[in-house]
Each structure stands twice: as structure tokens, then as C-alpha cells.
Amino acid sequence: MNECVLVVDDDREIVRAISLLLEKEGYQVLKAYDGLEALELAVEKPVQLILMDVMMPRLDGLSAVMKIRERKNIPIIVLSAKSEETDKILGLSMGADDYVAKPFHPQELAARVKSQLRRYTMLGDIHAGVSGDEIRNGRLCYRQSERTLYADGEPVRLTATETKIVELLMKNRGRVFPAEEIYRRVWEEEAYAPENTVMVHIRRIREKIELNPKEPEYLKVVWGIGYKMEKI
């Protein structure tokens, strides 16, 4: 712990609230109220993560992100009231690592911060993909030899069935599996009500690995077709 987080937003109250939240989690917090300040602080001070708002005077968030990226590689989470797909894509392509829409659940925000930091500090700047034993996908990393899934470097306690499902989906990242197939492969018998069973397991897995189980980023439903592990 004791990482330093920079919180940037032109709304002072929000900055204060987030600071309180993060300080409770044990982080050190720096505050900035516009892009220029953020830029200064990011460059000068030892910051490990930046929480950046988009709409700010003097220098807006995304431009600031771009500028910071020229120098630093630290994780940046963009906060914005705009929640459109396009805004998200824009933010991420500008160099952010994550995009959180306002209003956010503070707990979720905290979880994300934690996740990003762990990845950064522990795992460094790594590429996703398969390298030998490991299958990496964003936050998740599945070590086949150990039959263990790591989220943000931390092992996740999964049941045997859950592990089988995760293995199947991780090995076939991005591919959509109909419930029948998942059932057949995992339980090795024909399903007669696969959706319910499979769904239950997926729900449980989500609880364990997703930052916000209600809005899963990895284990997704492709409605009308099946389920997949999103390829990050």
C-alpha cells in the first residue's frame, strides 16, 4: 500500500469525496483541479495512478492524458459523466487504462484502483496473451499447470466446475459458446436445462472475478447465442 494516487476533477467536492474514500483504503492522495495542474503533479511527484476527469478548464482530461502518456506509463482511470460507447473508446484510445462513468459506485471505483495498481506494481507492463503456461487476459491470468485463475495477481478461489468453465473460456478468448456446449464439455453429458445451470455458475464466477459483477467486463452473455470470455 501507500501508493500515491492523483485525483483530478474540477469539482472540488468530488475530489474531496474520492480522496476520503481512497485514504480510507490506505492510499496517499494528491489533488488537482485541472489538466495543467495534473500534468505538473504527474510529472514532478511520484504518482502511481491517476484518476482523471474529462471536462476541465485550462486543459481537459483527455489531452492531459495524452501529454502524461508521453512521459509516464502509470495507469490512468478516466472519470466522466459521458457514458457513451464512443466516449469510452475515445478515452481508452487516448491512453487511459480504464473508463468509469459518473455516477459511480465508490466501492467499485476503489476496487478498480486496487486492481490497476496491483497490475502495475506487481505485474509491470505486460502484454496480454498466452506465454507458455499462462493465459493472460486483462486482469485475469490463468495458469494451466496450477489450474488457478489469478485476478490482479491474486488467486481466485474457484470450485472445480468453475475452474473448468474458466479454463474453457480463457483458452478460447472471444469465442461464444452456447450453454449446451459449455455444459457438454464441462459436465461431459447432455444438457436438458443448460441455461439455468451454466448461468448460476457464471454468476458465481463473476462475483469472484469481476470488479462489478452486475456489469461484467470479462464473462459476458451474448444474448441469444451463448457466453464468452471477452478478450481484453
Partner: protein
């Protein structure tokens, strides 16, 4: 309608016959003896008897023989006529001479008349027992048909009652009984007033001698006559030169024809009464009659005017002409006379002719009445709607009612193109106009199909140039309007986006601080509760803001959907699975009927999931505790339909459109729901190309979502 027809027919028929008959005043009498005809006959008979008495067979000869052009009368009246008696008398009695012939000359002209013929005549007279007579010359009986009477026992002054029973022969006449040349009459024992004031006029009933201006002459003073007429004339059988005949004599015939005509009159009266009744009926039924009329005029309206004119007018006119020509030939029409003397000359003849032909006339009336009636009603009803060949022709070349110069030109060209030689030129012009017209209609079609880019240009001299330019103007206007609308739609979305964005910022603070509060320790319990409430409400606010944003996007069509092929059945199963926990916790039971085999539709899966999630959430939230929720998926006629039904816990009003924004079933509920759920669901569904509707029947709430089934074969 029928009643009217019959009524009118009968009316006309009987009216005419009534006219005919009424004009004959004699018909008023039931007693034939009271008729004028009777009086005339008796007068004639008297004249005959006096004549026979005077001249014997010569009288008969002259009476009953005719020469070619004139016939001779004997006149035994004097020429003494008084001024006030009118010239008619002198004509009648003294015109025995035709032209300037004397009696003897005329008699010679008339020719021989044999005794046998005279006797035959006498026999005839005698045989008529209905009219008894006795003729006395110089006091001696010369002729009689009264049995038992002879020269010995008869004299003019005797009482004839012994031979002539008064009950049978109630009319008795004596001439010159007292030597005064006068006539005395008795009917039913009463004396009849013969002479009135003594002046014989045309109107006088009895044309018998004895008036001041009408006497028999001195010669006739030698004769005395007794006449008796039977009360009830009868038929007599006579064996004559021609075998046995039934014979009735003039009186019988008179009575018979009177009876017949009276009967005819009665029939006419009856017919008339019936006609009036029918007409009354027709009046009473005038509504159906009107309907009948409508129907008839409906038919007649379809017939061309020319045909109708022919039928309705020509026929009556023909009939009239027939009569006129007949009349003309009958009356010996001569154009010179007509021109010279005028119509006046022909009036009396016309009157006679009419009287003569009145019965024929009724058929004329009948035949012409109905066509005329039809014609008139048709005209009245179908005024202005007459179909007519000529009318059509006229209309087709008329330009007055065409307002557009193009129209006028076209029709003019059309007219002129019919003229030989020159016509070709105009035909060419028409052709060119047709081409321009084609271009114009083509352009209209193009615009209608949505392509509003290209303007149409016609050559400068085209008559439709102005029209083309107008069309282009419309096109531009449409483009501008569409641009405006898209702009305003975009602005609306931007507005909503901006507003919701502005709301989100303070909302974020609230959520964050509430969270911080939650983490505070050592708070009193009630304060903790307050914090909990704050948390819930701000949560709800967040959800609402997001909903509003989505609804505005969906409504303006800005919502981006990614249609892909998916299995409807699977989608539903996944949704149910996804919500298995809340379903379980709600205490409601699901009754699900989803087919095993795939039901392929094309839609945005994520959105449709939201739709069904919303529907299910509603069902879970608002259903009556312990009741069932039914979900079925059926495929029929190329359509896949999902139906969800649940029993509402609260009363749902009638006629509320739940899919309207901010409409909620229970207006007082304030937990959860924003009232936007169904509205969003509907927008999503429709954006994916499906149909969405909800209905409530008492407490049963039904949601129906349907999509067209994607046909695999088509894809290939």
C-alpha cells in the same frame, strides 16, 4: 310504386270515359223515357207518321232514299218563322230542297220506290210493339199497329186505354186530337208540358209541330196521330224477308243503349273511385314510392340521354302526329282554307273529332303518359347527370372549364389534330407534350421514393416547364425540411445528453458522500437509517438519469442497434437464467413454454435482453404475491411471438397507455421504477425491427413482443 302506377292508369282511363259519358246528359236519366234521345225519337216518329198519313209511300220514299250528294226532305211546315226563333229552324225544316230543286224535281231525282218496300217498312213499324200508333186521316183510321183497332171502332178522340194498358204503356201522345194541330202528351198519368212558352228553340225538348214558330202546315191538319210508348221496351221476334229476326225497335235499342251506357258510367265511376283509392294508397306509401322512383331513375340515369329522348318524347309525339294526320284526312284539310280562314274554321270540326275519338284518345293518353312521367322524373332526379353521347363529345372538346393553359392547349390540339393534313402537326405537338408529361411523372415518382437530389429540367419551350420548376421547388423544400428535422432531432438528443450530463456531476458527489457517511462509525441507528435512505434515493436518481438518456436516444432514432441473428428461445432462457435469483426471491412461480428448437430472429441481443429483463422485473415487482407469471414463445406464419402475462397486485386502470413515458400502473408507487421501463422497452424493440405492445384486461397484464422469423434460405 305499383299502386301509383295502377292508380294513375285507372285514373286516366276512367277520367276519359267519365268525360265521354258525362257529356251525354241523357245518362243521368234512369228512365229512358226522360232522355232527350227519347224525345227526339218520338218527335221523329211523329213526323214519320204524319208524313205517312199525308203522303203514304211517297213520304217514305223521300225519307229513306238518298241521292249522291243531297237528300231530299219533305217539309210540311210553313215558312213562317219568327225572328226570335233563330235561323236554325228554317234551315232544318225548309231545307228539303237541296239547292234550287223543287219538291217534285227532288222526288223524281230520288227515284222509284216500290210498294213492296213500303209494305216492308210498314211491317217494320207495326212490328215494333214498343211504340204503338194509330194514324187517322180525316178522322178515319189509316194505319195502326194496335191489334183489334179498325176503322169502325177507332177515332182520335177515343179512350185507348182498353187497347193500350196504361201500366205497360205509360207514355201517350196525341196529335191534332182537337183539330188544333197541337200535340198532347201524358206520362204516368201526368200531363207533360210540351211547348213551354210556345217558342221552339234549338234547346226545346220536343221537336213537334204546335209551337208558334213551328207548325205542321195546313195540309197536316187532316191528320191525327196517337202514339204510346212502352214503359219497358222488349225484344220482339219478327219473321221478315230475311228470315226470323230478333227485333227491338228504336225504343228498345234506345233503352238498351241507355242501360249499357249507364252501366258503363257506373263502371267508370267505380273505376274512378278505385283509381282515387289507389292514388290515396300511393300517397300513403309515398316513401316506398320515392324509393321506387329512386330505383327507376337510377336505371334511367344510366341510359344515354339520346336514347331517352327518343323513347320518351318521340313516342308521344308520334301518337299525336297519328291523330293529327288522321284528323286532317278525316276533316278534309286543305292548306289554302287553313291559311285563309285560320284555325277558327277547324275548331268545330276538331271538337267533333275529339268527341268521336275520345275513347281512342284514352289509349293515347295512357301510352304517352307513362313515357312522359318517366321522362319528367328522370329529368328531375338526374339533372345534370345525364349520360349522353353528345354530351361526352362536347365535354371532350370543351376547353372553357379547363383553367390551366396546358390543359387548354392540349384539348385544342386534340381537336385540331382531327382535321386532315393540318392534324399531323398538332398530333406531333401532343406527342411532345406526352413526353414531357412522362418526364414529370417520372420525377414525381423518383421524389416519392426518396431521392430528392436531382432536379428536373425541361426545355424552355415545354409547356410543362412551369410545372417542372414547381416540382423542383418542392424538392428543395423537402430537402430543407428534412435537414431541419434531422438537425432539430440531433439538437434534442444533444440537449438531453447535456442536461443529463449536468445532472450526473452533482449526483456523483451525492453518491460519494453518502458512501463516506455509510462508512462513518459511531452513528446513532436512526442516522444510519437516514443515510441508507439517502443511498437508495440517490441510486434511483442515477438509474433514472440513465433511463431518460436512453429513452431520448431511442425515441429520436439515435440509438445504435447491432442487429444480428440470434435464437429467440435461447435469449429468453438466458434472461430467465440470469434473473433466476430475483425470481426465486419474489415468491412467484414461472410458467414457461419455450420451444426446444431454435427460433431465429434478427435483433440486437443486448437490447432485447434489456427489454425482457425490464418486463420480467416489472412482473416480479408488480405481481400479486404468490401468483404465476406466464411466458410463452410461439412461431406462426413466419412470426415469432413472446407473450408474458402476470396478475397485477394493484388495480390497473382502463385505457392507459403504459408504454408512454412516465406512465406507471400504480401512480402512487414511489419505490423503484421510473415509469420509463416500458417506454424504453418499446423503443428498443421497435429499433430492432420488432413489435411491442402491452394490454391489460382487468388484472391480467400482457406484454407481447414479436419479430419476423429470419428465413435461412433467403440468406443464401
Amino acid at each position: 310504386m305499383l299502386a301509383f302506377f295502377l292508380g294513375m292508369t285507372l285514373l286516366i282511363y276512367n277520367f276519359i270515359s267519365m268525360l265521354t259519358l258525362i257529356s251525354n246528359t241523357d245518362l243521368r236519366q234512369s228512365d229512358y223515357q226522360k232522355t232527350q234521345e227519347f224525345a227526339t225519337r218520338i218527335s221523329n216518329r211523329l213526323e214519320d207518321l204524319i208524313g205517312i198519313g199525308l203522303k203514304g209511300k211517297d213520304w217514305v220514299r223521300y225519307q229513306y232514299s238518298y241521292s249522291d250528294s243531297d237528300y231530299a226532305y219533305d217539309s210540311y211546315a210553313t215558312d213562317t218563322v219568327t225572328e226570335d226563333s233563330g235561323t236554325v229552324i228554317s234551315e232544318w225544316w225548309t231545307s228539303g230542297y237541296s239547292g234550287s230543286m223543287s219538291y217534285e224535281e227532288a222526288a223524281t231525282e230520288a227515284g222509284e220506290y216500290s210498294t213492296a218496300d213500303f209494305n216492308a217498312y210498314l211491317e217494320e213499324l207495326k212490328a215494333d210493339q214498343n211504340l204503338r200508333y194509330a194514324v187517322f186521316k180525316d178522322g178515319k183510321l189509316t194505319y195502326t199497329n194496335i191489334d183489334g183497332l179498325d176503322a169502325e171502332n177507332a177515332s182520335i178522340g177515343m179512350d185507348f186505354a182498353a187497347w193500350i194498358p196504361a201500366e205497360e204503356y205509360n207514355f201517350q201522345l196525341t196529335y191534332n186530337k182537337d183539330g188544333d194541330g197541337k200535340v198532347a202528351m201524358e206520362k204516368d198519368g201526368q200531363t207533360v208540358d210540351v211547348y213551354g212558352d210556345g217558342i221552339y228553340r234549338e234547346k226545346s225538348r220536343w221537336a213537334v209541330p204546335g209551337y208558334q214558330n213551328f207548325t205542321a202546315g195546313d195540309e197536316a191538319k187532316a191528320i191525327a196521330v196517337y202514339l204510346a210508348a212502352a214503359k219497358e221496351p222488349r225484344l220482339y221476334v219478327v219473321s221478315g224477308t230475311n228470315g226470323t229476326n230478333r227485333y227491338g225497335g228504336v225504343l228498345y235499342r234506345l233503352k238498351e243503349s241507355l242501360t249499357a251506357e249507364r252501366q258503363q258510367l257506373v263502371r267508370s265511376k267505380a273505376g274512378l273511385a278505385a283509381a282515387l283509392l289507389l292514388l290515396l294508397l300511393a300517397w300513403a306509401l309515398r316513401k316506398p314510392r320515392r324509393a321506387g322512383r329512386e330505383k327507376i331513375t337510377g336505371w334511367t340515369g344510366k341510359i344515354w340521354l339520346e336514347v331517352k329522348l327518343l323513347f320518351f318524347l318521340i313516342i308521344p309525339i308520334c301518337l299525336i302526329l297519328t291523330f293529327v294526320t288522321d284528323f286532317l284526312s278525316w276533316s278534309g284539310f286543305s292548306l289554302d282554307r287553313f291559311v285563309y280562314y285560320g284555325v277558327q274554321d277547324y275548331l268545330p270540326q276538331a271538337r267533333d273529332y275529339l268527341a268521336f275519338h275520345l275513347d281512342g284518345f284514352f289509349s293515347f293518353w295512357l301510352l304517352s303518359f307513362w313515357p312522359l312521367y318517366l321522362g319528367v322524373t328522370d329529368l328531375r332526379r338526374n339533372k345534370g347527370q345525364q349520360k349522353s353521347i353528345i354530351g361526352r363529345l362536347r365535354r371532350s372538346i370543351r376547353t372553357r372549364d379547363l383553367k390551366q393553359p396546358v390543359q387548354k392547349k392540349l384539348v385544342k390540339w386534340q381537336r385540331r389534330s382531327l382535321i386532315p393534313f393540318v392534324g399531323f402537326f398538332y398530333a406531333g405537338k401532343v406527342r411532345r407534350l406526352a413526353e414531357d408529361l412522362g418526364a414529370l411523372t417520372e420525377q414525381i415518382r423518383v421524389i416519392r421514393n426518396g431521392d430528392i437530389g436531382n432536379a428536373l429540367s425541361l426545355p424552355e419551350d415545354s409547356d410543362l416547364k412551369a410545372a417542372a420548376e414547381d416540382l423542383n421547388g418542392i424538392q428543395e423544400g423537402m430537402e430543407a425540411a428534412i435537414r431541419e428535422r434531422t438537425k432539430s432531432e440531433r439538437m434534442k438528443v444533444e440537449l438531453v445528453a447535456n442536461v443529463s450530463h449536468d445532472i450526473k456531476t452533482p449526483l456523483t458527489s451525492i453518491v460519494s458522500y453518502v458512501d463516506i457517511l455509510k462508512q462513518e462509525e459511531n452513528l446513532p441507528e436512526d442516522v444510519k437509517d437516514y443515510i441508507r435512505v439517502l443511498g437508495e434515493k440517490s441510486e434511483r436518481l442515477s438509474a433514472m438519469v440513465q433511463d431518460v438518456f436512453e429513452v431520448s436516444k431511442a425515441a429520436s432514432g439515435e440509438l445504435k442497434v447491432k442487429p444480428e441473428k440470434l435464437d429467440f428461445a435461447k435469449l429468453l432462457r438466458q434472461t430467465l437464467a440470469d434473473m433466476a435469483e430475483p425470481i426465486e426471491q419474489s415468491g412467484l412461480s414461472m410458467r414457461v413454454s419455450i420451444p426446444e428448437k431454435p427460433v431465429e430472429i434478427t435483433a440486437d441481443g443486448q437490447r432485447m435482453y434489456r427489454v425482457f429483463q425490464n418486463l420480467l422485473q416489472n412482473a416480479l415487482k408488480y405481481s400479486l404475491t404468490g401468483s404465476r407469471v406466464y411466458l410463452t414463445l410461439t412461431e406462426k406464419d413466419g412470426k415469432a411471438t413472446a407473450v408474458m402475462k402476470n396478475t397485477s397486485a394493484t388495480e390497473l386502470g382502463d385505457g392507459i397507455d403504459f408504454t408512454e413515458r412516465f406512465v406507471r400502473g400504480d401512480k402512487s408507487r414511489t419505490d423503484g421504477g421510473s415509469g420509463l421501463g416500458l417506454s424504453i422497452a418499446k423503443s428498443f424493440t421497435e429499433a430492432c425491427g420488432g413489435s411491442f405492445r402491452v394490454e391489460n384486461d382487468a388484472d391480467l397484464f400482457t406484454a407481447v413482443v414479436s419479430f419476423g422469423v429470419t428465413d435461412n434460405r433467403k440468406e443464401a
